[in-house]
Amino acid sequence: MDITDLKIGEEAIIKKVKAKEPIKGRLHAMGIAKGNKIRLLDHTLKKQTWEVDVEGTRVALRDEEAKAVEVER
């Protein structure tokens, strides 16, 4: 499962970041990296943009990137 499968407010552990470089590097720099805790905070009406909290940092990302982050409850 990935970020887009989470419900708002739900927490999970990041298993793998499947995005391509250089986006992967950017996600890592924002704290979206293996083993970190992630919580879904919000999404826009059409579920195109997502907001998550990883270890205290809030990050906004698009559908494509959110789908590339594998998580486990």
């Binding site: 995005a19 470089e21 250089p22 986006i23 992967k24 590097g25 950017r26 996600l27 890592h28 720099a29 924002m30 704290g31 990296a33 293996k34 083993g35 970190n36 905070l41 919000d42 999404h43 826009t44 009406l45 059409k46 195109q48 943009t49 907001e51 990883v54 270890e55 205290g56 940092t57 809030r58 990050v59 906004a60 990302l61 698009r62 494509e64 990137e65």
Partner: protein
């Protein structure tokens, strides 16, 4: 006096500028980094017998530089010479920040760690053990709060201390297997006479394992490159097998993340609780309510700009007029008197009057930025902007464009993808800058009812933005095929804006504006005045003077005087120029005066107002149309006024903005395109609007 050179680095929003501002007795210089228009802040402080020079580098998330600004910081770190690195981190998100710190420590330069915003951690009931953190990392650690000015001056003491130490005491090592590979690769690098320092070789090897192209380019020309390249490939393969990763980059990312995590666990307690940001975000970026709230904020901003900003206008207007009349009385009559009291003062005055409007608009944009709402707006609008081939982050330069186009072009650097950046920059001119505000306010008060003024203004701004989006879409479909850059962005926590910083910004803006009005615009006004007063026509004048003497009736006298003034203006250099370009603008209903004013707007948009003031000041003797507004109503028809507004919304921005664009975009093809297309588009749209209004019988 000994000189110490330090650089300050850290991720965005950790409070570096606040720290720089909080250092006591420091002299601040603001300039640019060589060759690029990235702002460079530098402070000089004296401490005992030392002169410490600190360069504030642009915020950077990772040494895998992503945006052009991050590239500037990385280059500086790698290529410039300095004695000490001051790494600033945000205590609230220590783990994420430490990942970058670990990358910096790979350099093994003398580094100190400044953990800022401890006030916020303490307020949440958290605690950081600085001594332990220092022990684990092997470098000095200072806890600071730039907001409460705590610990800031201690930074200098630590800088001096570490300056005297022989080298960095960093203790960070990666997994044994990784270090083994690093060591054997570093040995190859050390065979080259370019490398004498093991620490530097180690750093280069780590960067090479992480496929850093900047470093690759450096070692590429070394004689040992072939050997190194081969060994590097083998090392990577071994590591990938050993740790079961697809890419060694991931291995380092995981290592650093795990290290940072375990360090944070040992040094910090931070109870997790629902923060204010959580609560506010529940409302402001609510899936349904978010957008309407955003639109309301924007609407309110423009209402405020107009309503409150126009309160002191009459008063300022009267003051300027009185001042000019008073000066006219005491200066000796003649050309000098005239150039000052008829040329410069009314022109500068016509612009100074709009200072309140401009300040309110800037205050609004600053508030958006400082409170953290700007990032939320980018989040809300990303889906919408994507439809037009842009991305959410483009919102930030676009909104800055409402303030001033120059910094907006620079703000476009947050976009990494060159296509995205170019599209954004090409449409930035459609975001009406605050210099255009005076022109709109003038035209709106002359041609629209007062109670609808705020809404008309809002419509102009929204109209410009919508037009920009459509142009972006067309550009994306025709010239820049391909997907926009992915959207990944940090949403900073909401912070109460620092009132001092806001006041400072406003003060700087007001100063710059008055300076611009007093120098550049006064100069432009003088030129316009000169061109509109010369050459003299003594023959024409004496003929009229005779006529005026002959008539008895004072009304007829006044009429003749007006006629004379109008004739003189028409025969002036400016009049001749206006007549020359009039055919271009005639289809839009412009007379030569409006044509000249339009062209003068290329110098600076405010100049349009002062030019109109000069050109329509002809009816001096006419007592019932004393103000510019009344004269415009008399001489310009409604359709032409609307067409003028359309032109100003679209055509090329001022020279300062254009030169910024040229500085940012090196390709001649795009520069040429940028210089031509807005003017063509402006003319076509103004023409259509004029004729549609004519069809409607207005």
């Amino acid at each position: 006096m000994k000189k110490i050179k330090a650089v300050m680095v850290g991720q965005p929003n950790v409070g570096k500028s606040s720290i720089i501002n909080a250092i006591s007795n420091a002299r601040l210089h603001v300039g640019n980094f060589a060759g690029v228009t990235v702002e460079k802040k530098e402070v000089e402080v004296r401490k005992g017998e030392y002169e410490i020079d600190i360069v504030d580098l642009p915020g950077i998330y990772s040494l895998h530089a992503y945006t052009p600004e991050e590239q500037v910081t990385k280059r500086y770190l790698l290529e410039e010479s300095y004695d000490v690195i001051i790494n600033v981190v945000d205590a609230n998100v220590l783990q994420r920040n430490l990942v970058f710190t670990l990358q910096l420590l790979d350099m093994r330069k003398k580094t100190i760690l400044v953990v800022n915003m401890v006030d916020e951690v303490e307020q949440k009931g958290g605690h950081i053990d600085a001594a332990k953190l220092s022990e684990l990392l092997g470098i000095p650690v200072i806890l600071t709060s730039a907001k409460e000015k705590k610990g800031v001056d201690e930074i200098l003491d630590r800088v001096i201390e570490i300056y005297h130490q022989p080298k960095c005491g960093c203790k960070i090592y990666y997994n044994e297997k990784i270090e083994e590979e690093i060591e054997s690769l570093a040995k190859i690098l050390l065979k080259s006479p370019h490398f004498t320092d093991y620490d530097q070789a180690r750093f280069y090897v780590i960067r090479l394992l992480e496929k850093d192209e900047d470093i690759y380019r450096i070692v590429h020309d070394l004689p040992i490159f072939l050997e190194l390249h081969e060994a590097l490939g083998e090392a990577m393969r071994r590591l990938q097998l050993e740790f079961d990763v697809e890419d060694v980059r991931d291995l380092f990312a995981d290592e650093r993340n795990a290290l940072a995590k375990s360090i944070v666990m040992q040094v910090m307690q931070l109870p997790r609780q629902e923060t204010l940001t959580d609560k506010i975000d529940k409302i402001l970026i609510h899936p349904v309510l978010g957008l309407p709230i955003f639109l309301f904020f924007m609407w309110a901003l423009f209402q405020l700009t107009f309503q409150i900003g126009s309160l002191p206008v009459d008063y300022l207007d009267q003051t300027v007029t009185n001042f000019a009349n008073w000066l006219k009385g005491i200066l000796p009559p003649g050309d000098f008197n005239s150039i000052i009291t008829d040329g410069v003062i009314p022109a500068v005055g016509a612009i100074i009057m709009f200072l309140p409007n401009i300040l309110i608009l800037f205050l609004g944009i600053n508030l958006l930025e400082q409170t953290g709402y700007m990032a939320r707006a980018a989040f809300l609008l990303d889906g919408f902007l994507k439809k037009f081939g842009l991305q959410g982050k483009a919102f930030i330069p676009l909104v800055s464009g409402f303030g001033c186009t120059v910094p907006a072009y620079m703000a476009a650097r947050t976009l990494k993808n060159p296509k995205d950046r170019l599209i954004t920059m090409l449409i930035l001119g459609f975001m009406n800058c605050s210099a255009r505000l005076p022109v709109y306010v003038l035209l709106i008060s002359a041609f629209f009812a007062t109670n609808s003024a705020g809404n008309i203004l809002f419509a102009i701004y929204i109209g410009g933005a919508i037009l920009g989006l459509f142009v972006a879409k067309i550009l994306r479909m025709v010239l820049f095929k391909g997907e926009p850059e992915p959207f990944v962005m940090e949403m900073p926590p909401y912070r109460f804006p620092s009132l001092k910083a806001l006041a400072m910004e406003l003060w700087i803006k007001a100063k710059l504006f008055i300076k611009k009005a007093g120098t550049f615009i006064a100069g432009a006004a003088m030129i316009i005045w000169f061109l509109s007063s010369y050459p003299h026509h003594p023959e024409l004048e004496s003929r009229y003077l005779q006529k005026i003497e002959q008539v008895q009736n004072s009304e007829q006298k006044a009429q003749l005087q007006n006629e004379l003034a109008a004739k003189k203006l028409e025969l002036s250099y400016l009049g001749q120029f206006g007549k020359m370009i009039e055919p271009v603008f005639a289809p839009l209903g412009f007379d030569w005066r409006l044509s000249v004013a339009t062209i003068s707007g290329l110098a600076a948009k405010e100049v349009i107002v002062s030019t109109l003031a000069t050109l329509y000041a002809v009816a001096e003797a006419d007592e019932h149309s004393s103000t510019l507004v009344q004269k415009l109503r008399e001489y310009v028809d409604f359709k032409a006024a609307v067409a003028l507004i359309v032109i100003i919304m679209i055509y090329s921005p001022c020279v300062a903005a254009m030169s910024t664009f040229y500085a940012e975009v090196p390709q001649w093809a795009w520069r040429t395109f940028y210089t031509i297309y807005p003017n063509v588009l402006a003319w076509i749209l103004a023409f259509s609007v004029y004729h549609v209004l004519a069809l409607l019988g207005l």
